[in-house]
Symmetry: C2
Subunit: 374 residues, 2 copies
């Protein structure tokens, strides 16, 4: 059964160390949640991911719906059996992808660099749901709160997310308000549908309201009044770190402190360092694994760009103090060569290192909070 326990509250900040209990084990918080969009952390197989002790894995309902389809996963006995992972999994609702793919890239849009123009894949938005075209085969699909939650029941993750609308950064206050009302109605319908058959799953609300404090407060208060198991913070929280932290601070004051929270789509070290003192429990991001595949290896001091020629004669590991599989077995020289020769192992070995780095980093963060150093 799902349960959240606060182990320690820092005397120095709002940071806290906690434990989220799920049917597939414990998640120590604060923690990093790696993204395995298609039910696979890119370039690392499930058993290796488990051996890295990644306690929570994020899968995308939108992608899984299109390939292989939630019926396939259901028939396999659920996502844990399907991908052979015996540790916690969270899925999103699909709403985020439907809108963000249409707006041409999530990151750009949320950071206000987008164009707001849809690519036409979202065909119709009504109060009922969204009709869109599959990015895979162009077929027409409908996503409603009930369809999304049912898909997430079929997939069977430990934590699921209600269906929401992703408003673009450049939306007017008036439109943002309309979007928020619709999101609230969709989240309520998602929760109602979920509560009819909990299926041993927890559901986190998604607090919206974009960059308006008024709407963020409204959203936090409304969703806090409903029977959610946790609170995710979604949508655009600002176009830079300062704006983001200010909005987080404000939002955190308006959600229940005794429930776990999650910051959606954030996972770079700077953001983590600044968000954890505000009391954020979990973060998901594809950044560490994506960076790995592009040859950026995370290090405590300075990240290493592995394809730089300087690495080719360096027979040391990425980080001499790192205990990961890659650092224990391979040199910078060999990794540089694998990248230059475009060998697939390059992506696996660099992803293992970056994921280990993030997991280890969060473990150290928890230690520091326990010592009231953060």
């Amino acid at each position: 059964m799902f349960k959240f326990e606060i182990v320690h509250k820092s005397k120095k900040s709002n940071a806290r160390v906690g434990k989220i209990y799920t049917p597939h084990g414990v998640i120590d918080t604060p923690n990093f949640v790696a993204v395995g969009t298609n039910g696979s952390i890119k370039a690392i197989d499930s058993k290796m991911v488990e051996s890295l002790n990644l306690q929570l894995m994020f899968c995308n309902t939108y992608h899984l719906l299109l390939q292989p389809g939630s019926d396939v996963i259901k028939k396999a006995g659920g996502i844990h059996k399907f991908i052979n992972r015996n540790m916690p999994i969270i899925t999103d609702s699909g709403g985020f992808q439907v809108f963000s793919l249409a707006y041409g890239g999530v990151a750009n849009e949320l950071k206000s660099k987008g164009t707001k123009k849809s690519d036409g894949s979202v065909l119709k938005i009504t109060d009922d749901g969204v009709t869109f075209r599959s990015y895979r085969d162009g077929s027409k699909m409908l996503l409603t709160p009930e369809i999304s939650v049912q898909a997430q029941k079929d997939i069977g993750a430990d934590i699921i997310i209600p269906f929401d609308e992703l408003p673009p950064y450049h939306m007017s206050f008036k439109d943002l308000k309309i979007s928020l009302d619709r999101t609230h109605s969709w989240e309520k319908r998602s929760l109602d549908y979920h509560l009819k058959n909990r299926n041993n799953q927890a559901m986190y609300a998604v607090v919206h309201g974009g960059i308006s404090k008024e709407l963020r407060e409204k959203s936090a208060k409304y969703l806090s009044s409903l029977d959610f198991d946790g609170y995710a913070i979604g949508g655009s929280v600002g176009k830079n770190l300062i704006e983001m932290i200010e909005m987080l601070k404000f939002t955190m004051n308006n959600i229940p402190q005794d429930k776990p929270n999650h910051l959606l789509g954030i996972g770079d070290i700077k953001s983590l360092d600044l968000s954890i003192p505000e009391g954020i429990d979990t973060f998901d991001s594809s950044y560490p694994t994506k960076a790995a595949r592009h040859g950026t290896l995370l290090c405590k001091n300075k990240n290493i760009k592995i394809t730089k020629s300087i690495n080719i004669y360096n027979n040391s590991p990425i980080d001499k103090s790192c205990t990961c599989y890659t650092c224990k077995n391979y040199s910078l020289s060999y990794l540089c060569h694998l990248f230059k020769a475009k060998e697939l192992s390059a992506y696996t070995l660099s992803s293992i290192h970056n994921l280990h780095f993030m997991i280890n980093y969060m473990s150290e963060i928890r230690e520091k909070i326990l010592n009231d150093e953060i």
Copy 2:
């Protein structure tokens, strides 16, 4: 030190079970040699390859010369340290690639489907060596017997190969004869250079002569008179299996039986089954790993084309009796999904299975020879 021991000669055929001792361990024969062109079996890292008990790995000097360069490998302490493999490695001379890349694909040319026309990358062939353009950056490079062997000394594999010319299938008898004389002179120079500094390496001759029995006999006899540690069979041995086996039978009668032999570039099951009774000890081929990446999974009865829709609801492993990492952990359904979603793990998991299959297959073959069943 290098040593070959015949453990058992079959009473039923010329098949034999043997042991090749090298500075990095024993190779049980007959055995399959996987190809790791760039010092990496594609999609599987060195430690995983070792855990599969792949006893001999084939690396390509031509590719390693161009990237990362033999100096890099030498400075890393040799290929074993560079790629972190503590088991035997064999390198070729580079000659094969220089010519085969020029003739537009090895397989086509050797099976007489090529055009014989060079793509212009081979700039000049003289008795001294070959001048060619790098496929990586177009730079002009010279390969001679001495340069090739020195590169192979720097790389430091357990078994190395003398520099040879790869005559195209469609060559006239007259030209084939000229080519063979040049190859013999190059192999002799390679051996002489090698013997000045054995460096704890063994050198296998490459028997040429194309599809001419007269020239095959001449080549086998000449090379047998020199102090090589083993005999590889190279060049085109025919355009189909029947021609190949006839030529193998003929060639095998003309090379020393007390030394190990190797059939270059052959690794499909049918060819193995037919060649082993002729006394072939080792075979190298990129087929099993290439097939894996293209979604063909090797099975005892019928290979599985994993992307076929029939697999998506099949929660069984590739082969219920298979003990490989992939079969122990993942279903056909998940593998099919990983391939369809183009996830990199698909290539790793399928390559692991196919490599395990080949290694296991050869182990069973050795058992059968020991029982005089082959």
